[in-house]
């Protein structure tokens, strides 16, 4: 596989790792690049708008992005994103622990 066809299929998991946590109906996912050189690409790929647009039925509220430049990480706080949260949701994963892989599954924005 040549570099361009591999790049075309890259997902966020190829350049970053993540962990999800919950507070009520709010989910937060922190995303960290393995290589600091990929941080600009991550910032371009994972914008609040992009995440909100990618999961309109799941993430119903506001998405806020916090940036930790020196640690090369982003923290996304997603409101009304857990079907009511652990108190209300009947999702098997009512905490949204698996939401980290929701973001890691998005394609990397390789465009110019």
């Amino acid at each position: 596989m040549n570099a361009s066809s591999r790049n075309a299929r890259r997902i966020v998991r190829d350049i970053a790792h993540a962990r999800a946590g919950d507070k009520g109906n709010t989910s937060n996912v922190s995303v960290w690049v393995y290589d600091p050189a990929d941080f600009e690409l991550l910032k371009k790929t994972l914008t609040s708008e992009r995440i909100k647009r990618a999961f309109p039925h799941l993430i119903r509220g506001e998405v806020t992005r916090y940036e930790l430049e020196h640690l090369h990480g982003l923290n996304f706080v997603m409101r009304e994103a857990l079907e009511g949260g652990v108190n209300r949701s009947l999702n098997l994963d009512s905490h949204g622990k698996s939401w980290s892989y929701l973001l890691l599954g998005l394609p990397v924005d390789e465009g110019p």
Binding site: R19, H57, L68, G73, N87, S98
Partner: protein, 413 residues
């Protein structure tokens, strides 16, 4: 040695247990853990701090005394911290902390209300020379901050150090989540010896900086990535992590390698603690039932979808109204629901139905209808299982700090 064992809802479950049996309501693993830890900690002079008291710290302390006596540890001092139970101090129409409405809007019986206590509730127990400190709703990071305040004599107005100690607590409070537990992703983030993952150790210096590490003989790993993931775990604004002790600032924290499985953290900050304390209000949420049947082989997904349709018709017909019900097909849409576009190519799916109700009989109807798919549902279904469990609901409110009066009582084995 700090054992942080409470989630938001765990205390509410504890209250349910305590209401059924006044001698219960604390962590069910307490006795097992004290039996395992007391001999080593007694020999080494290590103090144990825990919130395993949950909804009944007094009973947990009494049980610990019994364990100590059986082990022959006469004179062991157990501190019981109370005062987090604020059910009598919170007005019934107290507004919610983070959403519109107030407590009187909830049509469920309250089981308990607990304020988050900070390090100032724990330090007096350490000053009294306790060997084991047991409380209920002690805030997670505060249990780690308290021994630092005690040992280093940190001043309550030294917000930078309180922030630094809170960072240590935050990194440690989920145990193995910082030593490679909850981290492995084969091929990307491999972790050795995960089945014997070790608990974290923090080596803290007087200025509040710390090295996070683990025993060399234990599995797992401590590296920049494990520490960074935990740094923002359940954190919203990294510059404002609010605890009863301080508003900690994690936004400028320095994380650096300090050897094999050793990571140094420094430069946390802090500003004033809040004037009010968070209170978790627990309600009896009735019952939750879950039931499932599996389908495999050709057209498994189609048969699973037909099963959803059948159970749906039956439940709405039998229970009417709007039952609090959810269907998913494990293998197709159980976690991310309709959020992704995942091809349904699998030939191994499981119908999963969950339902919540104030009435146990309604949940029993669900279990019976799912089991009935084995004789009046799609072909080839198998592996029915169903469980019904008690359910709690929680809401958060605030209480004036001055209304919360923590107490410490020392019991002797």
């Amino acid at each position: 040695m700090v054992l942080e064992c409470l989630g938001e809802r765990t205390v509410a479950f504890g209250h349910r247990d305590r209401i059924v049996d006044p001698s219960r309501g604390y962590n069910p693993h307490l006795e097992m853990r004290m039996n395992a830890l007391l001999p080593t900690c007694r020999a080494a002079g290590t103090v144990i701090i825990t919130n395993m008291g949950a909804a009944n710290p007094r009973a947990a302390a009494a049980r610990t005394i019994e364990v100590a006596r059986k082990l022959g540890f006469k004179g062991l001092k157990v501190a019981c911290i109370e005062g987090d139970d604020v059910a009598r101090a919170v007005p019934r129409d107290q507004p919610f902390m983070d959403e519109p409405g107030n407590l009187s809007d909830v049509d469920m019986p309250v089981v308990g209300m607990n304020a988050y206590l900070g390090s100032d509730a724990i330090v007096p127990a350490l000053e009294a020379g306790a060997d084991v400190v047991i409380g209920g709703r002690l805030a997670d990071p505060s249990m780690f901050l308290a021994p630092l305040v005690h040992r280093f004599g940190w001043n309550g107005s030294d917000l930078q150090r309180l922030g630094a100690g809170t960072l240590v607590g935050h990194l440690m409070e989920c145990g193995m989540q910082v030593t490679g537990g909850y981290f492995a992703d084969p091929g990307m983030k491999d972790v050795d010896g995960l089945s014997r993952c070790g608990f974290p150790i923090a080596e803290v210096t007087e200025d509040g900086s710390a090295v996070i590490t683990k025993l060399q003989t234990a599995g797992g790993c401590v590296n920049l990535a494990t520490v960074k993931e935990q740094l923002l775990y359940e954190v919203h604004d990294p510059a404002r992590y609010i605890t009863p002790d301080v508003t900690a600032d994690f936004s400028r924290v320095v994380v650096e390698n300090a050897g094999a499985d050793r990571v140094r953290v420094s430069n946390a900050g802090g500003s004033a603690r809040p004037d009010s304390l968070k209170v978790t209000v627990g309600f009896d949420g009735g019952f939750q039932g879950e039931a499932g049947v599996s389908y495999a082989g050709p057209a498994a997904v189609e048969r699973g979808r037909l099963a959803v349709e059948i159970v749906g018709h039956r439940i709405y017909k039998l229970l009417g109204g709007q039952p609090d019900l959810r269907f998913s097909l494990i293998g197709v849409n159980s976690l991310f629901t309709n959020a992704g576009t995942y091809p349904a190519e699998t030939e191994d799916v499981r119908l999963h139905v969950a339902m919540r109700s104030r009435r146990r009989e309604e949940v029993e109807v669900l279990l019976w209808e799912v089991e009935s798919l084995l004789c009046c549902g799609p072909a080839g279904g198998g592996g029915f299982r169903g469980v019904i469990a008690p359910c709690v609901m929680t809401k958060s409110v605030l209480i004036e700090r001055d209304l919360v009066r923590p107490t410490v009582e020392i019991l002797m084995a």
